[in-house]
């Protein structure tokens, strides 16, 4: 099966006041549709940088990023934003919902700027699917941590992405809630053939993943 996303010989260097820090060193990585990959490693190992490069939020200093077989390394900001919207859904550790919008509106956010007449129906369906059909008009501060993360997952899925990138998705949740979120990931990748790539410290993730990639000091082990 072909890769939906691939990193080839990727290096990422930061210039921090005269000293060059190498956050990623010659990273090769790929994920297939429907695959659940976890990236583990101590903090400062370059996990977040790798996730940002995979999510087209950051460009590598060297190497190539292939998205659905296409080289997307040197796209403009505008094109990258368009590709992100089309292919990638993001889930963050601290949910990052917009506090002034209802659950339903939060799910709609990625579709808000652009003519998308079916967005509201899709958002409603997604919230029902993640078990929040009765919380559509609740604001984030009226939701529990697990519910917020479910809203965030629904938001990530609104544009029917092929890749789901999660940064410590269970980091702010208790174990049981975390497990239910992971169950949801498992369901999504099976039913929608979405590649899920999660950066995590959480060891219970390995019960769900197809494989685990370990990143230490910017290198994949």
């Amino acid at each position: 099966m072909s890769n939906i996303i691939e990193l080839r010989d990727v290096w990422k260097r930061y210039d921090t006041g005269g000293e060059v820090v190498e956050a990623l060193k010659d990273v090769h990585f790929h994920a297939e549709p429907g695959e659940f990959v976890s990236v583990m490693g101590p903090s400062g190992s370059g996990k977040s940088t790798m996730l940002n490069v995979l999510g087209l939020l950051d460009t590598p200093s060297e190497g190539t990023v292939l998205l659905d077989g296409q080289d997307v390394t040197d796209l403009s900001d505008r094109e990258m934003t368009t590709q992100r919207k089309r292919f990638i859904g993001f889930i963050f550790q601290s949910f990052h919902l917009i506090p002034t919008l209802s659950a339903l509106e939060n799910v709609e956010v990625p579709t808000l700027f652009g003519d998308d007449p079916t967005a509201r129906d899709r958002a409603t369906e997604l919230l029902e699917r993640v078990g929040l059909g009765d919380r559509l008009d609740h604001r984030p501060d009226q939701l529990s941590g697990g519910q917020k993360q479910r809203v965030a997952i629904a938001r990530a899925l609104i544009n029917e992405p092929q890749i789901l990138l999660a940064d410590e998705p269970t980091g702010n949740l208790d174990q049981e809630t975390g497990r239910s979120v992971l169950d949801l990931f498992d369901e999504i990748r099976r039913e929608d053939d979405v590649a899920v790539i999660a950066v995590t410290h959480d060891p219970q993730l390995s019960n769900y993943t197809d494989r685990t990639v370990e990143l230490i000091d910017g290198r994949i082990q």
């Binding site: 940002n52 900001d77 993001f90 990052h96 917009i98 506090p99 956010v109 544009n159």
Partner: protein
Amino acid sequence: MSPLDDLFRRVPALLMARRNLSRNRIRTSLAVLGIIIGVLAIASLGMFGTTLRAGATQQLGDIGNEISISPNLQEGVEELTDRDVDQIRRAVTDGSVVPVRSETLRVGRGDRQTVATVYGMENPGAIYEAEDGRVPDRLRKDALVGSGTATLLDVEPGNTISVDGRTYRVSAVLAQQQGLSLVNPNNAVVVPLDDVNGTGYSQVVVNAESGQAANESAVAIRESLNDREERVSVFELQTITSGINQFFGILNTFLIGIGSISLVVAGVSILNVMLMSTIERRQEIGVLRAVGVQRGDVVRMILAEAGLLGVTGGLIGAVLAVGAGVVLNAVVLNDPLSTFQAANFVYIFLAVVFGVGTSVLSGLYPAWKAANERPVEALRK
């Protein structure tokens, strides 16, 4: 779906802006208050100018319609002749010509005596109105008394007065002239032309139908009488009125300038508010960018916030300005309804446009800054 929801669906930037502004209501209200004050200052100072001008014009009266022709003493012309008057009559197409001869004489009634200006006129009815009695079309043997002189001598129509030894029946007491006048009757007496010594005229007054007709007459008279030599000097009161108008124009600009300063201050406060709120929302904007919202949309969203502040402040300011105008006009002109005239609405409109413009302008930098931050940086905890 309500019309507002419909608008929000069509312009999502507005929905986001509306929600963001409701986040910190006090801060939003203070920013709006700044715009309200600015708009109110510009609009009400502009209207204040209009009111002043109206008040001054009311005081001046219809003086723009009169012109006065007098002999040019510098060229050695001592008085105007009958030939001059004929030429003036021919030059004036639309208005009445009143040749005037004047002297300062002793006027009395019984044992009350005074010295007054005595005008000799054939047709004083063209420029004067009676307060009491009747002003005849042709003044043949009676006298007209100005209001000041009448009070002084205790005269009313039907009485007899003596002017330089001659006796006249008074046919009218003239209405007091409020504004400026070329031949002020208030402290004078008007008698038939031939009763004042001399053959020529000290001045000729032309009372035209309108300011424009007066101006045209003045031009025609200059062409006709001052063709070869500067025989007469022509004095138009219109030059005074236009001077006064010009003065009030400058005054108005000055007042509005002062008002604009307060709007600039309001603009700075909006800049501050928007900058603070975009810095606070850094992560959120980073998330928006991550989930596929373009830079341009972020700019639009923040400009919509600034614009909403401006529109809200502008509208409230406009309503308050109308209120202030009504009070002002009621006090100064005794006519609150004169607030509702075109000139005032121009000021209000301009003030609102300035208010919205200032707000949007102040939103530009925060919008640009927020949109250009890299999402990676914004999302970093």
